[in-house]
């Protein structure tokens, strides 16, 4: 018969402290692994579900562990304080804010993936609406238990209550399994499916361990060491499982692709055993042929200014020069948009998954109102893209691209021909075969009316950097190809 003063009942056994230490260690590891990539690589914070889901999952893990520690008598705490109340920890923090939150996030992610990849449209219910909706049964259940005061002084629920609670937990795991099964045939590029299966494994194992511990405790209520052992095992296994939080992959992937492609590389370091891969753009990450080879050296054939712009843009050197010009006068997003839609066009039509990744990336980056490189298109074109019923449609962006091309033709192209960038391109083309020494390119006369300098205004009042530095053209060409 266990005395009421033993540590098995009150808490405070040595194994308890060990378990708590392990739990704290795992939480710190979890936090550092989530925060480390953002801080070290200075990844800008992305908005939207890509950021909040991992945050909520880490928050949920934390709450779950905390609830376990504080409700299952690990610590020798006086039950008189209001903040040690059983209901707060064992009911609210374990349910809606812990396990329920974790599973709801995963279900919301699976739901999003289902809509995007199987139904091929943007999800109709925004995630900030879906998540509270998924949490509502948990909140209702917790409120009900709290109201009925179903817990005894030892923080246990009677069997009458345990069965529905376990059912709710299992129901959500089953729902997650169902959602994951609906997308199991999609070949994801960034291991989303594997992460979901891992999440399911973790959640169901946790439930399994918990049920076993509970049953053992109820059946052998008087065996002290069983109680101690079971709660030790419960906390340790749950801590261990939380370490396998697969949400970090999504943090890395999504944060990384939100940076514009003109920024320097970010090595995708994964803290699990994976080879580090370096991607500059979504196109490269998806393995689109010739992506990123915009920077390779390519003999610039004579560029005829009377050719239509869409034909000229197929020439890589011209495209690079034009893109640099557009970036210099703050109109670069049009050319980048053209570039990425062109890469999208290279994906074969029998590979809808990659098309959908690319399409979604383009939408997030260029089309959504308030996007980082939002392009100047009409309301209709934008709405047609956002409400499309087929994300893998090869003509998804053709109307918007048409508008952007018109904009480039009538607006940028005129100024490009009289700009420095075009002169430089002509010089390179003519000097390619014969690497002649050029003393300095005297440029005078009618200049492009585009911005002479904006960013460098403070440090370069006389625009000296604009002019091509004297030197060998060959060296310039060599240098530009190494970037």
């Amino acid at each position: 018969m266990a005395s009421t003063n033993s540590c098995a009942v009150q808490g405070g056994c040595p194994t308890d402290y060990v378990a708590i230490a392990i739990a704290i260690l795992s939480m710190m590891l979890l936090l550092s692994r989530s925060v480390f990539p953002c801080l070290v690589h200075k990844v800008p914070r992305t908005n939207g579900s890509g950021f909040w889901f991992p945050v909520f999952q880490v928050f949920g893990s934390f709450n779950l562990l905390l609830s376990l520690v504080l409700s299952i008598n690990f610590l020798k705490l006086e039950k008189k304080h209001w903040w040690t109340s059983c209901y707060i920890w064992a009911v609210w923090f374990e349910g809606p804010l812990g396990f329920g939150l974790l599973l709801s996030c995963r279900i919301a992610q699976a739901f999003q993936l289902y809509f995007i990849f199987v139904k091929r449209r943007l999800p109709p219910i925004r995630s900030y609406v879906f998540l509270p909706l998924a949490l509502s049964p948990w909140i209702a259940g917790a409120a009900f238990i709290h109201a009925k005061k179903a817990m005894n002084h030892r923080c246990h629920m009677g069997t009458r209550w345990i069965v529905p609670v376990t059912c709710l937990h299992t129901l959500y795991v089953v729902a997650l399994v169902g959602c994951t099964r609906s997308i199991r045939h999609i070949e994801f590029k960034f291991d989303e499916l594997k992460d979901l299966w891992q999440g399911i494994l973790v959640s169901s194992s946790s439930i399994g361990v918990w049920v076993v511990a509970y049953i053992l405790n109820e059946v052998h209520d008087d065996v002290a060491w069983l109680q101690v052992l079971s709660r030790f095992l419960l906390l340790v296994t749950v801590s261990y499982f939380q370490l396998y939080d697969p949400s970090q992959a999504s943090v890395l992937v999504l944060a990384f692709f939100s940076m514009s492609s003109s920024q320097p590389l970010l090595a995708q370091i994964s803290l699990r055993r994976r080879e580090p891969s370096e991607f500059r753009s979504m196109g490269q990450a998806l393995g689109i042929p010739d992506s990123g080879l915009l920077f390779q050296r390519d003999p610039a054939p004579g560029v005829d200014s009377s050719d239509p712009l869409d034909k000229l843009l197929l020439n890589r050197r011209f495209r690079q020069s034009f893109m640099a010009f557009a970036d210099s006068c703050l109109a670069g997003e049009s050319v980048h948009f053209y570039n990425e839609v062109y890469e999208l066009g290279k994906i074969p039509t029998d590979d809808p998954v990659r098309s959908i990744y690319m399409a979604r990336h383009i939408i997030e980056k260029y089309v959504v109102a308030g996007a980082p490189m939002e392009v100047n298109i009409s309301y209709r074109a934008r709405q047609d893209i956002l409400t499309t019923t087929n994300l893998a449609d090869p003509d998804l962006f053709s109307a918007a691209l048409n508008e952007v091309m018109q904009l480039m033709k009538t607006n940028l192209a005129k100024d490009y021909w009289s700009s420095m960038y075009y002169l430089k391109l002509k010089e390179e083309a003519s000097a390619w075969s014969s690497c002649i020494e050029v003393e300095g390119i005297g440029v005078g006369g009618n200049f492009s009316p585009r911005l002479s300098s904006v960013h460098g205004a403070a440090d370069d009042p006389f625009h000296h950097d604009q002019y091509v530095k004297p030197g060998s053209i060959c060296n310039t060409l060599e240098r530009s190809s190494d970037t």
Binding site: L330, N376, Y379, N402, T410, N411
Partner: protein
């Protein structure tokens, strides 16, 4: 949006020799920035389609070498593009109205023009437009004169019909000429959305030919996505010329068909006024498109715009136009004083009535602007 403006730094006199070198460097920097400083920076801001680029073109015409033949020729394709785009918008608009409206019969194109309409709509959707031949011009003309299209044009405020539609449609014969060279007027009417930033530097030479101030004028795009780029230009601005098209109180935005243009202008003006960089910047408000405003006020009451909902018409005809204009002007003045904190009340604020297409008017207006800025400069320098 963080403050990118550097506050005025007052350099204290160096105390001893060790600071001598630092002071020398600072003095040199000050000299250089002063050399740059006498170039006055002017920004043309405003919502999309408010007339900024037209003012920009006018300034080029007035104070720079104007448009050479090569440049005029380069506008041919733009004028033709405007024609094709306009007729496509009207044709597609008439089809849409025929579907959605109760009295759909008046929007249905006559059978004679149906095929023509479909073909022109297809041409308008292409990337590269064909040359505007006499035949095409005739077809476009006949479609334009179709009553359904005219009905659609009267509802043009619900579609994104450009303001130059009427002008170009009336001049189709001339535009389709084989040796067509755009006139200055054609160039001013031509509509191109600006993207990014364009600048010119000019000196408003007075009658006595003595060079006055040097101005650097920046033109920007007005659509929402373009506005995020404005922040790069906000430092060291002498004056902001804010263009507001007062004739668009019944139209919606190009980039958001659920937002009224006048309300967007109001919000944008407020935002610009509250910018920390513009503490000492002069504001010139150009109430633009007065010619269109004149014609519209007679038919469309000002109250359709939420901002003007307390407007009461008093008379009719020319008096009414003046009354309506004064009402709008007062609204903008109220908005200015609402959005200006007490420590900024001494910055210059002037309102001008403009029609950007009218060269004489723009010249006169700019002279007034120039005078105001010069007086302000002297005041700042303590000479007034």
């Amino acid at each position: 949006m963080g403050s990118l403006c550097s506050k005025q730094r007052h350099f204290d006199k160096p105390e001893n020799e060790e600071n001598g070198q630092a002071a020398e460097i600072e003095r040199r920097i000050e000299q250089e920035t002063k050399a740059e400083k006498h170039i006055q920076k002017l920004l043309l801001l405003g919502t999309g389609d408010s007339g900024k680029s037209t003012i920009f073109k006018q300034i080029k015409l007035l104070f720079q070498s104007g448009f050479g033949e090569a440049e005029l020729k380069s506008y041919t394709s733009i004028v033709h593009a405007n024609v094709y785009q306009t007729i496509k918008i009207l044709h597609d608009g008439s089809k849409e109205l025929a579907q959605n409206e109760a009295e759909s019969s008046k929007y249905i194109i006559s059978s004679a023009n149906k095929d023509v309409g479909e073909r022109l709509s297809e041409i308008g959707g292409r990337l590269n437009y064909p040359q505007l031949t006499k035949e095409l011009a005739e077809e476009i003309g006949s479609l334009w004169n179709d009553p359904a299209i005219q009905e659609t044009y009267s509802r043009g405020n619900e579609l994104q019909v450009p303001d130059c539609a009427h002008y170009f449609m009336e001049n189709l014969q001339r535009l389709s000429d084989a040796n067509y060279l755009p006139t200055k007027e054609d160039v001013l009417y031509a509509r191109v959305r600006t993207t990014g930033v364009v600048e010119i530097q000019f000196s408003p030479v007075g009658e006595n030919k003595k060079s006055g101030e040097v101005y650097r004028l920046f033109d920007v795009g007005g659509q929402r996505n373009e506005r995020r780029k404005w922040i790069h230009l906000f430092e060291g601005v002498t004056a902001v010329i804010f263009c507001a098209a007062i004739s668009e109180y019944d139209q919606t935005l190009f980039e958001d068909e659920h937002k009224n243009r006048m309300m967007d202008t109001k919000e944008l003006f407020e935002w610009v006024l509250k910018q920390p960089c513009f503490e000492k910047t002069s504001f010139m408000l150009f109430l633009n498109k007065f010619d269109l405003f004149e014609k519209k006020v007679a038919n469309v009451p000002l109250n359709v715009c939420e901002w003007f909902k307390d407007y009461q018409p008093v008379s009719s005809g020319k008096q009414e136009v003046e009354h309506a204009y004064e009402f709008v002007k007062k609204k903008f003045e109220e908005l200015y004083f609402q959005s200006t904190s007490p420590d900024r009340v001494d910055r210059v604020f002037k309102i001008y009535r403009t029609t950007a297409l009218d060269q004489k008017l723009v010249k006169k207006t700019f002279k007034l602007v120039d005078e105001t800025l010069r007086r302000r400069n002297l005041f700042e320098a303590g000479l007034l």
